[in-house]
């Protein structure tokens, strides 16, 4: 039982937290800007590398570099929106979707150009896990990631339900035409969507780097589970995306647990779990768990 918690459940929740933070942005961008942002994974990579530079240049721990990474990634996202997505806003969304593939390639290539293609780590050395109740062993980084994600979820919930901009974002996501009739400013709402989406993507990128390593394909590789999480939670439902991320992360990890003496599936196939969940959701519950928008 303890093995299950130590080696499957806690890493599953950690992985789920990372998916969740990325999926919030995917879900909000889909809900408000009405397009699937395929550069979101690479935005995560950009955030992780900004933090890496801060770690190298300032000698601070990766967690302390998060505010710098968030600020710079938000600027990059706002620039990308102004330069690449805004000119396409009045055209059918497929133009913007294809453009986001191009932006993803630009992000990745720029990262490779400046930081190289080698994998990097924020810190070297072995961190002793925290031992609770004699047998529960949790890595410090896992505790940090899970607690930070829980805190972010609470703040996000408060923001969306108790601030004017949060309610505006939910209103635009519900019905953009009515929001415009109500006189709400769409461009301001879009800016805030990028700030929150990119900020959380940067945090997720740093968490991936903390949990494993930083490499240029890290964000692109996480795109499928992030989209699956956003669909599972319901498009345009940020808190649904968090629930979706956690479910997919946990499902991916515990599917490899030897419940009946053998793993349910081989660990090398665990990334297929997100794909299977995405297919099932699209077929049987297309509005997701939190009744989001239909695709």
């Amino acid at each position: 039982m303890m093995d299950f918690i130590n080696f499957y459940l806690v890493p599953g929740i950690t992985l789920g937290a990372i998916y969740a933070l990325g999926a919030v942005g995917v879900s909000m961008i889909f809900g408000i800007l009405r397009f699937a942002h395929f550069a979101h994974g690479d935005l995560m990579t950009v955030g992780a590398y900004f933090a890496l530079s801060a770690v190298w240049l300032l000698g601070i721990p990766a967690l302390a570099a998060i505010p710098i990474a968030v600020a710079l990634t938000c600027l990059v996202a706002l620039f990308a929106d102004r330069a690449f997505y805004k000119p396409l806003r009045q055209l059918p969304t497929i133009y913007t979707v294809i453009a986001s593939f191009g932006v993803a390639l630009i992000f990745r290539s720029v990262v490779q150009l400046f930081w190289g293609t080698e994998s990097q780590v924020y810190s070297v050395g072995f961190q002793k896990p925290i031992v609770l109740f004699d047998s529960l062993r949790i890595a410090t980084r896992h505790i940090q990631i899970i607690l930070a994600t829980a805190g972010i979820t609470l703040v996000l919930h408060w923001f969306l339900h108790h601030t004017q901009m949060g309610k505006t974002m939910r209103a635009v996501s519900d019905d953009p035409a009515l929001a415009s009739v109500a006189g709400l400013d769409p461009e301001k709402t879009i800016r805030w969507t990028w700030i929150i989406g990119a900020g959380l993507a940067a945090i997720a990128g740093v968490f991936v780097g903390l949990d494993t390593d930083v490499h240029t394909m890290m964000g692109w590789n996480l795109l499928l589970p992030m989209f699956a999480a956003a669909l599972l939670g319901g498009i345009g439902k940020p808190l649904g995306a968090i629930a979706g991320g956690l479910i997919i992360g946990i499902a991916e990890e515990i599917c490899t647990y030897p419940f009946f003496g053998e793993s349910l599936i081989s660990p090398s196939y665990k990334s297929a779990i997100a794909f299977v969940i995405m297919l099932l959701i699209l077929i049987f519950r297309p509005r997701g768990l939190f009744k989001g928008r239909l695709l």
């Binding site: 004017q164 309610k167 505006t168 939910r170 209103a171 519900d174 019905d175 035409a177 009515l178 929001a179 415009s180 009739v181 109500a182 006189g183 709400l184 400013d185 009744k291």
Partner: protein, 241 residues
């Protein structure tokens, strides 16, 4: 002394480059309910959308409180004192009733939000115990109340209503018309497009009949109800009840 809230002068407007209404005029005075009636496709909703900047205005002028709003965008009109309620999809379904009302204050905050909200809940007491319910779960009539309530939250001087009784049961029809009279009496002028022409003309202070995108008849609600041609052509014939 009444003065003109809205003066639509020789307006030609439509979608893209296609004109739907041509050389139309309409006026709304202070504290009036003005109703636009006419057959389907006459351009009634197009007129409302043109006033609210939601389609292309081509020529003529639209004057609100002595100021031309011909080139004004929708987002500029709400702070100026005009609100609108579309015919369908007029509430934010996943927001609560209270949040829907709050959204009405974002573009043009009223002087005293609490007092405005209390006034609206006095007008629509049905909403009082549904404030925390999602607007999408309400009945059609209650949704209409939320929609009008949202439009009133910015303390407008004029609200534009596109078929406020569309899809409602006959029982609710009277309720909504009665509420609109109360809204007018609270000092808000109303320009309304309505399919239930007979009932709408009964509460109208003034009305216009539109045919093929042009003004065909106009007069007080009572005058149009008495007009034989209007009755025969647009009110299903018969004597006025």
């Amino acid at each position: 002394m009444s003065y003109k809230i809205l003066d639509v002068q020789n307006l030609t407007a439509g979608y893209g480059k296609l004109p739907i209404i041509e050389n139309m005029h309409a006026k709304v005075d202070d504290g009036q309910i003005v109703v636009i009636v006419g057959p389907n496709g006459a351009g009634k909703s197009t007129l409302l959308k043109s006033v609210f900047g939601l389609n292309s205005r081509m020529s003529g002028d639209i004057v609100f409180e002595s100021q031309s709003i011909f080139d004004a965008k929708t987002s500029e009109l709400v702070p100026m004192g005009i609100s609108a309620v579309p015919q369908s999809h007029n509430v934010f379904p996943t927001l609560t009733v209270e949040e829907n009302l709050d959204v009405g204050t974002f573009a043009a905050p009223p002087k005293d939000k609490t007092a405005t909200k209390a006034k609206i809940l006095q007008l629509f007491p049905d909403l009082k115990d549904k404030l925390r319910q999602q607007a999408g779960e309400l009945s059609g009539g209650q949704r209409q109340m939320v929609a009008v309530g949202r439009a009133l939250m910015s303390d407008p001087r004029l609200i534009l209503l596109d078929e406020p009784t569309a899809g409602l049961s006959p029982a609710y029809l009277e309720v909504i018309f009665d509420l609109l009279l109360q809204v007018r009496d609270s000092g808000v002028s109303i320009l309304m497009v309505e399919q239930n022409a007979k009932q709408a003309l009964r509460i109208a202070d003034y009305a216009y009949v539109l045919v093929n995108g042009k003004n065909a008849y106009e007069g007080t609600g009572a005058e149009l109800l008495e007009n034989d041609e209007v009755r025969k052509s647009f009110l299903g014939g018969g004597a006025p009840k």
